[in-house]
């Protein structure tokens, strides 16, 4: 929906010299534009330097590392392809980590997008009360994921948090209720942190989409006698599709790469039940195994999976739009 707008603004910038100058200024401007061609590179040079040194070179390096025997302290000890890949895929924690990451991603995405959509619908009307609500929902997204996880770590703890006392007062449990003690509790407790931290973030993205829907469309639906639910399913949802798709792609990508929240809240426990794939990469590289080669291979597998998943999502989205 918004893409054409962007493209329209991009056209003149791609060919700024094609704007036809007034005859008197023509020669001067064409001389200027030749000079400006070189200057364009000059201004882009810092970006090019950063992208090359800290992105392109590392990408090539990680490919080389994945094909080499490369210890954390020992450094490069020559090619050993494809040992790192077979090693990474045959790790006994690999498939449990994949399965857990996928499960966590599905649960998080469904709940988070559902709640974010509800919040967006709740606050879409522009009145003062709603701007207070919006701010309240958004404040958690100013916090870092690590800070949010640390906050909930203390909040969940029976020694410090209010929940244990509350549940005891209500007569539920015996005061030893554990939020992080069992695999399932740990999963849902982590999902709760993520929902708290990100609901406002996705609400805002959806709000942008909601506000781009013209009031004429709603008016037409009202004239046709559509009730609230019909308006929602037949007008709002279809017109919100690109915003919803953006949220889903961001949420799926973010959740597949989950690290901070599990590192802080569960450290992969209990019994390695909450190890995500990125945690496995970290543990392989720095957390004991100290094998950068295998970690590089594993992280390239993650990259590949992510590219495939995102390409599939983009294709599904484009297919629907046609």
């Amino acid at each position: 929906m918004a893409t054409p707008v962007e493209r329209r603004t991009e056209v003149p910038s791609a060919a700024p010299t094609s704007t036809i100058p007034e005859p008197a200024a023509r020669r001067r401007v064409s001389g200027l534009s030749r000079r400006r061609r070189n200057q364009g590179w000059l201004y882009a040079a810092p970006t090019a330097l950063f992208v090359t040194v800290f992105f392109l070179v590392p990408v090539l390096l990680v490919i080389q590392m994945s094909l080499s025997d490369w210890g954390l302290f020992a450094g490069n000890r020559g090619l050993n392809a494809p040992d790192n890949y077979t090693d990474a895929l045959s790790n006994r924690l690999f498939w449990p980590a994949v399965w857990f990451t996928v499960k966590y991603t599905i649960i998080t995405t469904v709940i988070l997008i559902g709640i974010a959509l509800g919040l967006a619908l709740l606050v879409q009307e522009v009145v003062r009360w709603n701007s207070f609500l919006r701010t309240a929902f958004l404040v958690p997204s100013a916090l870092g994921l690590a800070s949010a996880s640390l906050l909930f770590y203390a909040l969940y703890a029976p020694q410090s948090g209010p929940f244990a006392q509350l549940l005891t007062a209500l007569g539920i449990g015996d005061g030893t209720v554990s939020f992080l003690g069992s695999p399932n509790a740990a999963l849902w407790s982590t999902v709760a942190v993520i929902v708290w931290r990100f609901a406002g973030f996705y609400m805002l993205l959806l709000l942008v989409g909601l506000q781009s829907i013209s009031s004429d469309v709603y008016e037409a639906a009202r004239v046709d006698g559509a009730n609230r639910w019909q308006t929602f399913t037949n007008v709002t949802l279809p017109l919100l599709k690109s915003s919803l798709a953006l949220c889903t792609i961001l949420c799926i990508t973010g959740s597949l790469l989950a690290f901070d929240q599990f590192y802080i809240l569960t450290r992969g426990g209990p019994d390695n039940s909450t190890i995500t794939i990125v945690q496995l990469v970290y543990n392989t590289a720095f957390g004991g195994r100290n094998d950068l080669g295998v970690a590089a291979a594993l992280s390239l597998v993650v990259l590949l999976a992510l590219i495939v998943i995102n390409a599939a999502q983009f294709r599904a989205l484009r297919g629907k739009e046609d």
Binding site: A2, T9, S13, A14, P16, R28, V29, L32, R37, N38, G40, L42, Y43, A44, P46, T47, F50, V51, F54, F55, V57, P58, V59, L61, V62, W70, W129, F132, L133, A136, F137, L138, V139, P140, A142, G144, A146, L150, L151, Y153, A154, L155, Q159, S160, A199, L204, L205, G209, A245, L246, F259, D260, Y263, V278, Y282, A285, F286, L292, L303, L306
Partner: protein
């Protein structure tokens, strides 16, 4: 249209329900602030209310002041690098045409495609060979790189939304492109710069995994890592009081900045949605 009686009941009911929902979102933050000064067994603040937990945090290992300084340096450098690189880059992408322009822009956006962990492993090796291992400057450079896709995109559309005549008139008046940038264009893209700076600060201040991997020296870690380390302090006994105090110190600048600059934060999303 609802009857006045229905409205009379509906509006307060809705206010109460939505207000309760807002309280649920605000509750953890308020709780952390209250709990950090409240008495609690097993912490530095056992009897009565007070700043005991903050005092313990201040004296923890290298000291709160050191960790705060580390965080301020990392965030400050990241903001400055990001603003400088994306200002010039956005200017180049929006106002100039040069060979390789689209390729470079796509390569910059492609940073978003590659997982953090996939890049941090080779970056760990690369920074070692550049002599930037275990250094705050190296960390800030890496964090800047992660900011570039959003920052460059944001600055490009900021420059593109400037009326062309404004820039052209400056050039025709004999201004060099750099003088035109400083005198005329920077004021025009100031809102974009604030948005980029805000996002860069929040990202750098809060980042966890990059310093976890790139900084080995426990005196050089930023605040989030230091607070996370407090937990495993003495024989596995977690000091929840100091953790709560640490969370408050971590969250306070973010929340204050967010409330002050909320408009600019929202603008970042508008442009993000435009991209999709």
């Amino acid at each position: 249209m609802a009857t006045s009686l229905r409205e009379l009941v509906a509006v307060p009911t809705q206010r109460v329900l939505t207000g309760a929902l807002a309280l649920i979102f605000l509750f953890p933050l308020v709780w952390a602030a209250v709990a950090s000064v409240a008495p609690q067994p097993g912490t530095a603040q056992v009897d009565g209310w007070g700043m005991g937990n903050y005092a313990r945090l201040a004296g923890y290992q290298a000291g709160l002041a050191q960790y705060l300084l580390n965080s301020v340096l990392i965030s400050g450098m990241t903001v400055i690098f990001t603003l400088a690189v994306s200002l010039l880059g956005g200017y180049a992408f929006a106002m100039f045409s040069f060979p390789g322009k689209n390729l470079l822009f796509l390569a910059t956006l492609a940073i978003l495609m590659v997982p953090y962990a996939t890049l941090l492993i080779p970056l760990y090796v690369l920074l070692n060979s550049l002599g930037l291992q275990n250094s705050l400057v190296g960390l800030a450079l890496v964090l800047t790189m992660f900011q570039l896709p959003f920052a460059t995109f944001m600055m490009r559309i900021s420059f593109e939304s400037i009326p062309r005549e404004l820039a052209e008139s400056a050039y025709v008046d004999g201004c060099g492109t750099f003088t035109a940038l400083l005198r005329i264009l920077v004021p025009a893209v100031k809102p974009g710069l604030i948005t980029v700076g805000l996002f860069a600060f929040l990202a750098a201040w809060n980042d966890f995994i990059a310093p976890l991997i790139l900084i080995n020296d426990s005196d050089k870690v930023p605040l989030p890592l230091a607070v996370a380390n407090i937990r495993g302090q003495v024989m596995g006994v977690v000091d929840y009081g100091a953790t709560e105090a640490g969370v408050v110190v971590l969250a306070l600048p973010c929340v204050v900045l967010f409330l002050l600059l909320q408009r600019h934060y929202v603008r970042g999303f508008m442009s993000g949605a435009l991209k999709g």
